[in-house]
């Protein structure tokens, strides 16, 4: 690759965007929206879930008592995909030691009493409306009662009372943090900016050049096809990263200090580039490319929504768009947990897969 040619091609992209003001206008609107969000928004301390639904309900216990074993054996079929048991020491914590639950989760914490260690404490944690944890509460009390009755039958009147017979303290709390609506909108702006540049604008401009024959003129010049591709791989990701940083920095300048933010943005941008170039290689005309980008967005949104509604947990992990919001949101809120690093790892693999797919398609079909 020759820098002289790459520089010429990059300058051409830059000048084309300066001349086509539509793209610039939308970018300015995104920045304006981010500024408005920063100046006029009211930070919400309450927890607002993305969807009023529990995707995972943890039963976190301090001690694996017979009650815990009974509960784990008696999870009804309809809740089996959602309920997970784990010892309390495995619950992630933040730097202050506070237990942290991801968005759209609920928890039933079975704690020993602090004073004498004999009576039980049950805490219910939920996001948003209290009613969303109702099915889990109902299950918990029903099975606890069944457990008590079975213990009495087995041991008779003389048998020692299980811990659950002691006065049981219960309480319910709303999880703090969650999806703050402002950070949610900021996340959406950042991701939309990246999508707009890499999945919409890149294929649209590339296919316009192909349709008008300008791409052929460039392909006949000394520029190699890999230089034509390389220039796009330098220009659009750089622009995408800058726009994402600008939008995120306007909302939360401290987010820019986190390495995780930059890694997440780079992964999202590279994955979007792969998707954009795949569309650019498959589509023949500008209209097809625009339609392709829109259809892709619609298809992925529907897939994620259907999976969420039907508790299909594995499939969304195959979509880059599943990981992007979680990573960017965590970076903006500075609540990055190990789970977000795992999202980053999976998203990185998906981004690589998209880039490889785009490269393979490009090798087979070229620009024509």
């Amino acid at each position: 690759m020759r820098w002289r040619i790459l520089r010429t091609l990059i300058r051409k992209e830059y000048q084309r965007h300066l001349a086509n003001r539509g793209g610039l206008m939308l970018i300015l609107l995104l920045i304006l929206a981010s500024l408005l969000l920063s100046f006029f928004g009211i930070r919400s301390d309450g927890s607002v879930a993305l969807m009023p639904q529990v995707q995972r309900c943890y039963v976190d216990y301090e001690e694996e008592t017979p009650l815990v074993r009974h509960l784990s054996r008696s999870v009804p079929e309809e809740l089996q995909a959602v309920v997970r048991f784990r010892p309390m020491h495995r619950v992630p914590t933040d730097e202050k030691g506070t237990l942290v639950y991801p968005t759209n989760t609920a928890a039933i914490q079975l704690r020993k009493a602090i004073q004498d260690g004999t009576s039980g404490i049950v805490w219910f944690w939920y996001s948003g409306e209290r009613s969303i944890i109702a099915p889990f509460e109902i299950w918990f009390w029903k099975e606890t009662l069944a457990f008590v009755q079975s213990q009495r039958i087995e041991g008779g009147e003389a048998a020692p009372l299980p811990i659950i017979h002691r006065p049981l303290e219960t309480a319910a709390f709303s999880l703090r943090g969650g999806m703050d609506s402002r950070s949610g909108i900021a996340t959406a702006l950042v991701l939309f900016g990246i999508f707009f540049l890499c999945v919409y604008l890149l294929p649209s401009m590339t296919c316009e050049e192909r349709e008008k024959g300008v791409l052929l003129a460039q392909a006949l010049s000394p520029a190699t096809t890999w230089e034509l591709l390389g220039a796009r791989f330098l220009f659009y990701p750089a622009l995408g990263i800058m726009l994402a940083a600008l939008l995120a920095g306007t909302y939360s300048p401290r987010a820019l200090l986190q390495p995780f933010f930059w890694l997440a943005v780079i992964v999202c941008v590279m994955g979007s580039m792969g998707i954009g170039l795949t569309i650019a290689t498959l589509a023949r005309t500008q209209r097809t490319a625009s339609m392709g980008a829109m259809c892709y967005l619609m298809a992925v949104s529907l897939l994620l929504y259907i999976c969420q509604q039907n508790q299909i947990l594995g499939l969304p992990w195959l979509a880059l768009e599943f990981h992007g919001p979680r990573m960017i949101h965590a970076a903006l809120q500075r609540t990055v947990l190990w789970s977000h690093w795992f999202h980053l790892l999976v998203a990185g693999c998906l981004a690589l897969a998209w880039v490889v797919t785009a490269g393979q398609l490009f090798r087979r079909r070229g620009w024509q």
């Binding site: 040619i5 000048q15 084309r16 001349a19 086509n20 008008k212 024959g213 003129a217 006949l220 000394p222």
Partner: protein
């Protein structure tokens, strides 16, 4: 003299359809060559192979001794190409369009002004191309193609949709390039244009080469050697000039003052094409 462009037994197939059928051509440096044929003759398919957009199904093409498939990157700077439809960055000015390609070819920017002056676009150089007329756009294509002083120039219908003056400008530029040693291969429908500027012409029909010679030789081979005569009594006669007896009779009529009008038959390309191929040129 070594050939600059050598086409050996070129075959281009699209599935079962044979677009170019064992075409052999050799172009010398400094030659202006016309590729003539009706729609579907195989001109564009040949050009697509020459500009590396289609691989040959059979045969090979060499440019300055380099294979068009194997040595594609070496060949690219050697040729310029004027497509049949304009392909500019509409939002850029003519000058900006040329600057982009000048930078790709590593040509100094002073050359841009020279090329724009050659095609008479200096005054409108800084207007956006979207404001250009069709003729201006086509002239800008030619300016772009000659920017890097290519040794070989391919032109696909270069004067289509141009006014008479612009056609003259294009012809003058092409002749000047040829005088400097550039080899030009142009496709056209227009036999008059070929006669006017081309050194040699190849006529293609259904992918096959049916005639290859200089325009003058084609004209002399295929012009009807007949004269149409109108006599003073209104009678119209045709005299074949290649028959001595008919020539003698015509001479007597002229000297006796019995001829009012006499016209020679002009070369008729469409008639010639029909005679050569049995197909109407369209």
């Amino acid at each position: 003299m070594d050939a600059l462009l050598q086409i050996d037994k070129l075959v281009v197939r699209y599935g079962e359809f044979v677009a170019v059928d064992h075409l052999d051509l050799t172009l010398a440096p400094g030659e202006l060559f016309g590729l003539l044929g009706p729609n579907g003759a195989g001109k564009s398919s040949t050009i697509r192979v020459l500009i590396g957009q289609n691989p040959p199904s059979e045969g090979r093409v060499l440019v300055a001794g380099y294979d068009v498939i194997r040595d594609w990157q070496t060949i690219k700077p050697l040729f310029g190409y004027v497509p049949d439809r304009e392909n500019h960055f509409e939002e850029f000015s003519g000058w900006e369009n040329l600057r982009f390609f000048a930078d790709l070819y590593d040509v100094p920017h002073s050359r841009i002004g020279e090329c724009l002056a050659q095609v008479e676009l200096s005054e409108s150089a800084h207007l956006p191309v979207r404001a250009f007329s069709l003729g201006m756009r086509r002239k800008l294509l030619l300016a772009r193609a000659i920017l890097h002083r290519p040794r070989l120039l391919y032109l696909d219908e270069p004067t289509a949709n141009l006014d008479i003056h612009s056609c003259e400008v294009v012809h003058r530029i092409l002749r000047a390039l040829v005088a400097e040693g550039t080899t030009v291969l142009m496709t056209t429908h227009n036999m008059k244009e070929v006669e006017k500027i081309c050194d040699r012409v190849a006529i293609l029909c259904k992918g096959r080469l049916i005639a290859l010679d200089s325009p003058m030789a084609l004209r002399s081979q295929h012009t009807e050697h007949k004269v149409d005569v109108v006599l003073s009594n209104g009678q119209r006669l045709v005299f074949p000039l290649d028959q001595p007896a008919q020539r003698e009779e015509l001479s007597q009529l002229i000297t006796a003052g019995g001829v009012v009008s006499l016209q020679t038959r002009e070369f008729d390309f469409h008639e010639t094409f029909l005679k050569l191929t049995g197909t109407v040129f369209e």
